[in-house]
């Protein structure tokens, strides 16, 4: 196992290196270099930059050296935690990151957990009681969840909350707690805001998971081993959880790899509508304004999340399914 883990970690590092090359190319893509853009943005704001600063900057980012040297300098900066400078927001990228990453991960991880916690029981119920009233209700709600765009759901939710209950649900904090230190009060305030984005983000995902689990489980319920277990005299409930559900979970577990990056990149509309201080609106802004260091750092971050997620889902799969653990493929 340790051997396997070590091998996976080495491949992960190599993949990240390859990704960094792509990201570096992306950063280099806009015409001119970083400092010319910086000067342009400053002079557009009516400020002038003295020659010494320019030289210092050019020197710092090795802009006059060959591309490979620039890449090496950029990479070693990243390893030291310096992701470059966002000229759009006029702050170091790492600073923007550290401000938002905690909140972002908190919201999105909770959304993912809610997604799973809701969809697994519903999916199982739907499959076991196929074509029952409950299954039809779950199916209709599921299709609604899939069909309604997130931003529309968020807008309707905002309208309903404000008009009927007089509550504003945008942002994640009330004004007085915005820049306060973490305390019980601030957490309660956070909780009173965060349910809305979590609800919006998790519905669509949950609806999808319910459909996948229902379909998988329906296949598994007809397998002969379920009949064997019934012939043993097991209760229906214990039987279903112990046998078909365990096998039906495999395809779900293998989606863990990309669920976080997907949630981050797909939740930006919600985040903009609800004015959330998470990472995804920043990614959009960075891409729109060609803020390449910021965009590059975000892409690197999502790549890292995908790799870690895939590793976690592979380890989980190996844990729940001995066929995968023992390196055998295709046995059913």
């Amino acid at each position: 196992m340790l051997n396997y883990l070590a091998r996976r970690l080495v491949t992960m590092i190599l993949t990240l290196l390859a990704l960094s090359v792509v990201v570096f190319v992306v950063i280099q893509l806009p015409p001119g270099d970083f400092v010319t853009s910086y000067i342009a943005s400053l002079s557009a704001a009516g400020e002038s930059v003295d020659q010494e600063t320019i030289i210092a900057l050019r020197d710092r980012y090795k802009l006059d050296s060959p591309v490979l040297v620039q890449y090496a300098a950029w990479l070693s900066d990243i390893l030291r935690g310096d992701f470059g400078y966002s000229f759009e927001m006029q702050r170091p990228v790492s600073e923007i990151f550290s401000q938002r990453i905690g909140i972002s991960l908190a919201v999105e991880l909770t959304a993912v957990i809610v997604m799973w916690a809701v969809s697994i029981p519903i999916g199982i119920y739907s499959a076991v009681n196929q074509y029952s009233v409950g299954d039809y209700i779950a199916t209709i709600l599921g299709f609604l969840g899939l069909a309604i765009p997130n931003f529309l759901f968020a807008l309707v939710l905002m309208y309903v909350c404000y008009n009927w209950f007089g509550v504003t649900i945008t942002g994640l904090f009330s004004a007085e707690y915005m820049n306060a230190r973490w305390s019980v009060d601030r957490f309660l305030d956070f909780a009173s805001h965060v349910w809305a984005p979590i609800l919006v983000i998790s519905t669509a995902g949950a609806a999808q998971l319910v459909r996948v689990l229902r379909a998988n489980l329906l296949d598994e319920l007809n397998k002969p081993y379920v009949l064997t277990a019934r012939a043993k005299g097991l209760t229906k409930r214990r039987l279903i959880w112990r046998y078909p559900v365990r096998v039906a979970m495999n395809p779900l577990v293998s989606t863990i790899g990309w669920v976080l990056p997907t949630v981050i990149s797909s939740s930006f509309v919600t985040a903009i509508v609800l004015n959330l201080p998470t990472l995804s609106p920043i990614l959009l802004r960075a891409l729109l304004s060609q803020d390449m260091y910021l965009a590059g750092a975000l892409i690197m971050f999502m790549g890292l999340l995908t790799l870690v997620g895939t590793l976690i889902s592979d380890l989980l799969l190996a844990w729940i399914d001995p066929r995968i653990r023992l390196g055998m493929v295709g046995a059913t």
Partner: protein, 560 residues
Amino acid sequence: MTAQTGKTVLEVRGLSVAFPGRKGETTAISNVSFDLNLGQTTCFVGESGSGKSVTARAVLNIVEPAVIKAGAINLVDVEAGQRIELSGLNPDGAEIRAVRGARIAMIFQEPMSSLSPVHTIGEQIIEGIMLHQDVDTATARDRAIKALRAVQIKNPEDAIDRYPFEYSGGMRQRAMIAMALGCEPDILIADEPTTALDVTTQAEILKLLKGLQESHGMAVMFITHDMGVVAEIADQVVVMLHGSVVETGAVDQVFHAPVHAYTKKLLKASMGLDEAAHGRGAASSDEILIETHNLSLAFPSKKKLLRKPGSGVQALDEVSVELRRGEILGIVGESGSGKTTLARVLMGRFQPQFGEAIYHTRDGVAKDLNDPATFRDGQVYREMRMIFQDPYGSLNPRMTVQQIIGEPLLVNGLLKGAALRDRVGELLERVGLPASAMERYPHAFSGGQRQRIGIARAIALDPRVIIADEATSALDGSIRAQILDLLLDLRSELDLSILFIAHDIGVVRYFCDRVAVMHKGRVVETGTAVQICDAPQDPYTQRLISAVPIPDPRKRHLVA
């Protein structure tokens, strides 16, 4: 045997089961009555769809989505003299669950898919024991090991912690039996338990079941479509047709004085395979179509995660066979003997490491089948066609029969439009299906009809050689005979040569001219079908032949 032998433990009277549907009910079985006696085996025979399995499941009250409409199932506790009526119980209730697994246990046809793939054998046996007996985990584990030892699994202490996919087919069925017998039931229901197994493994499992029945004194309800198996093990026979019992009786009476016409037909179909088919052997000539010399192919063992790679598998070991024009050459062996690998080498799927495989085309050119480039112009594929084992899996469910049969004609650019349609109709009629069948999808056909469609597809290009890989293994007795007869007719009409791959040596005498017996990648014996069946020389062939059940209860030789 115990003193209770012969006493009735289960009485089924007037049992009817129906599937509810939108257009009313479909009757699965109607008015079925029989008894099961302790220490005796009752065999249920009939073709697929005759209601044997539904009857078995009704005894355990697991028939959803169907429902038991009428009848009584009385389980008798011989010692206490009590009886329980099972058919009226709630299918998920505690009373029926106390019967399932404890007093009536069941084993199934597919030992792989009938065991959970993600639990160890031990977990699955222990679960059943702990469910019905008031014991702790350690005791249950000891009992499970004892049960595994009773079914003759080697190193049960080690085997108990293994997963089903680490077992061979025969071992899995043994593990199933151990699981069923974990709670010492009065009744064992065995639903086609040996159909998926090789003949030698089948003989071992039948022997094991008989021995266990004698030591436990239980009643066995054995479902099969193989009359040979019935003759070997049955005390009583129940013959089913279209959901009804058409004949019940002691085994000797059913075999030697059958009353119902259907019973006679079943017996005739099974006996028929013991004779060679009529008018054969005349066609074969000395012209060689396919020849192989010392073909050898080793698969490297899979590099397993977290494990050291073991030595590889020698799938083919110096295999030399030849297929002559007009003959049917049987390649016989157990699973894993390399017979399918040989077929795949001939079709260019694998390249052997040593040896040569030559195909002589219609124009007399010798093609080297070891060279992937040989297959590029498609000529070999036009002249050598395949028929597959699984009539369900080998037809695309989303294509109509016309598309399926017409595809080889279309991709080779031979026919299209109305001409293609006419040709497909002609092919369908040739294999005994109406031309109107071309509009329909494969799911509308039975297994035997699907296999006919597969044959029509194979002969569409007017081939010279047909490779039939277990083409009749998935079919019931009388349907199998029909398909074999169809292939025999086609052979003489179309001047075909057939390479017939089978694990069932029973059909070989009927169907093949010559036979090559394979064992562990080697051809151990080659000869005419009669010679191999009547006077086998190699000890392996002798073992294989002697494991074939004979459809006559007076000639029992496997379990006696």
